[in-house]
């Protein structure tokens, strides 16, 4: 009995203590991540090699699902829609977010600043389902937008803005706009005001100052926002499903539908494609921003040490 206790105490000697402490600290997270996350993904990945025929799953190690996914034009159309929507949403978010962030960063009155910040981030607290519902109300055939457009005489019988790509893009921009504002606002409020003042002292007009000083300095924030919004868009499910009403087929919607009819191999392959492409997009945006940053502001960085 004593020897056993000695053993245990010895095991916890100062020499071994360090890695035992580490292991004990990491263990809960490792168990959770190992079983639920890694386990789930591995099993899911395994299903990508199965065969799906006439509504039945057949176990196997085949590349059928991969081959079908990459060779059938139908899937390329899906991929095209997904990327097109993500691209449009990112572009519109950037166009709306940059002036908004610029305005917030430039505000002197703390009250106004607080109010605009609150307005920008309030939607973030509201569920995506609720916000999609709001857009459904706004965009429907007899909804507010069409009422407004008819009143303004832009159209006679109203546009159809729901259950198509336009509606999905409008709603997604709303959902992801805060994610674009945040990083841009962050770099804009950190960037040094003396650089701007120096440029103006040297005779640059406000547009020139903006184009040569402010915009390049905020490249990092823009890249960060683009990266976040684009990848979130590629994988967005709730809004395309609800606003698209099954008629705007993006990859996540497609994956969901394949799961409902238990075509797990196809769902797995499409998911893997989605994951890989969002990682590639992230890396590309990062690389692009870095190149841009170094070319534009190496001198500035040297001056700041």
């Amino acid at each position: 009995m004593n020897r056993v206790t000695d053993r245990i105490v010895n095991l916890y000697s100062s020499k071994n203590r360090r890695w035992i402490t580490q292991l004990l600290l990491l263990l809960p997270a490792l168990i959770l991540m190992g079983i639920v996350y890694l386990g789930g993904l591995l099993i899911f990945g395994r299903y990508s090699f199965d065969i799906y025929e006439n509504g039945k799953l057949i176990r196997g190690w085949e590349w059928d699902a991969y081959r079908a996914f990459l060779s059938d034009p139908y899937y390329w159309k899906l991929i095209g829609t997904t990327f097109r929507v993500a691209f449009k949403v990112t572009l519109w978010s950037l166009l709306l977010a940059y002036p908004l962030a610029y305005c917030i960063a430039g505000l002197k009155k703390p009250g106004m600043k607080q109010l605009l910040l609150l307005l920008t981030f309030l939607p973030l607290l509201v569920s995506a389902v609720v916000r999609s519902y709001g857009w459904q109300l706004l965009l429907s055939k007899q909804g507010f937008m069409n009422w407004l457009f008819i009143r303004l005489g832009i159209t006679d019988e109203g546009f159809s803005m729901i259950y198509n790509e336009t509606g999905v893009v409008v709603a997604l921009v709303h959902i992801f706009l805060p994610f674009m504002v945040f990083p841009i606002l962050n770099v804009l409020s950190q960037s040094d005001a003396s650089l701007k003042a120096a440029a103006q002292d040297l005779g640059a007009g406000s547009w020139r100052t903006f184009l040569t000083i402010t915009l390049p300095l905020s490249a990092r924030g823009i890249a960060s926002g683009v990266q976040i919004v684009f990848t979130l868009c590629l994988t967005a499910f709730t809004t395309p499903q609800l606003i698209g009403g099954g008629r705007v087929m993006t990859l996540p919607v497609f994956i969901y539908q394949r799961t409902l009819d238990t075509n797990w191999p196809m769902a797995a392959v499409a998911s893997i494609f989605l994951l890989v492409s969002s990682i590639i997009v992230s890396l590309l945006v990062n690389k692009g921003a870095e190149m841009l940053m170094f070319r534009r502001s190496r001198k500035g960085e040297q001056a700041y040490g």
Binding site: L32, G40, T120, L125, V130, G134, S140, P252
Partner: protein, 279 residues
Amino acid sequence: MVKSKRFTKLLLYIFAGAVAVYLLLPLLMILLTSVGSGSASKFPPEGLTLKWYANLGEQTQFLVAFKNSLIASTGAVLLALITGTLAALAIVHYPFPGAGIMRAFFVSPMVMPKITLGIAYLILFSKMHIAGGLFALILGEAVIVLPFVLTLVGSALANLQSAHREAAADLGAGPLRIFFTITLPQLRLSLLLSGSIAFVFTFDQVEAALLLLRQDSYTLPIQLFLYMEKWQDPTIAVVSVVLIAFALALFMIIKLVLRSVPGLESLFGGRKNKRRSES
């Protein structure tokens, strides 16, 4: 020159105002619909009524779903806070070879498409015979919010001064005692912050829950999602208004607690920058 500058500025304000309207419009529309009589998707509403609010009392499924959401989110957040804080402690205070890789692994659910995770959970938990219930959802969502805890608590841990801990150790306190009396109180804020971000995030989680849950354990977003796919009556608007009020209340509480803390924005920014430079 001065005039044109002022003009540009005015344009900028108008633009920012327009974007703010765009951001608020859906929420206002829901509010209007919730008190309007007649069809939900028709504008303008025919009259004002509170009958949908009265009607809400009969829709017990939303109340049950709200309770399920609370249980699932609280469970997932607690699980993520405990496992995440311990792991962050191991990675930051007791660094070991491969700690960076371990960290990247723990943070990786962030980039994983949520719909992928949802399906992976469905298959895994079906095999483990726990799919359908809230327990499975708690496990799955804890994984999804673990990155928030790990990054926020991790960066707070890295910023802590070691002098306090060393002093305690010199005075004879063991590692456990140091953790509970020195480290944990200093982490209070980041625990609260990461916990609330994680809570808001899991409360809104559709993808992982949609496939995983059985009808009696539907969470609120799922109940709303499915209700919306079938009907679109103003009951949804009422539930949404209640949810918005709930979110606002939560926001105010968090804001009150955090009021004393300056530089909160840079904390957020720091997290995002950190993540980016690692990927």
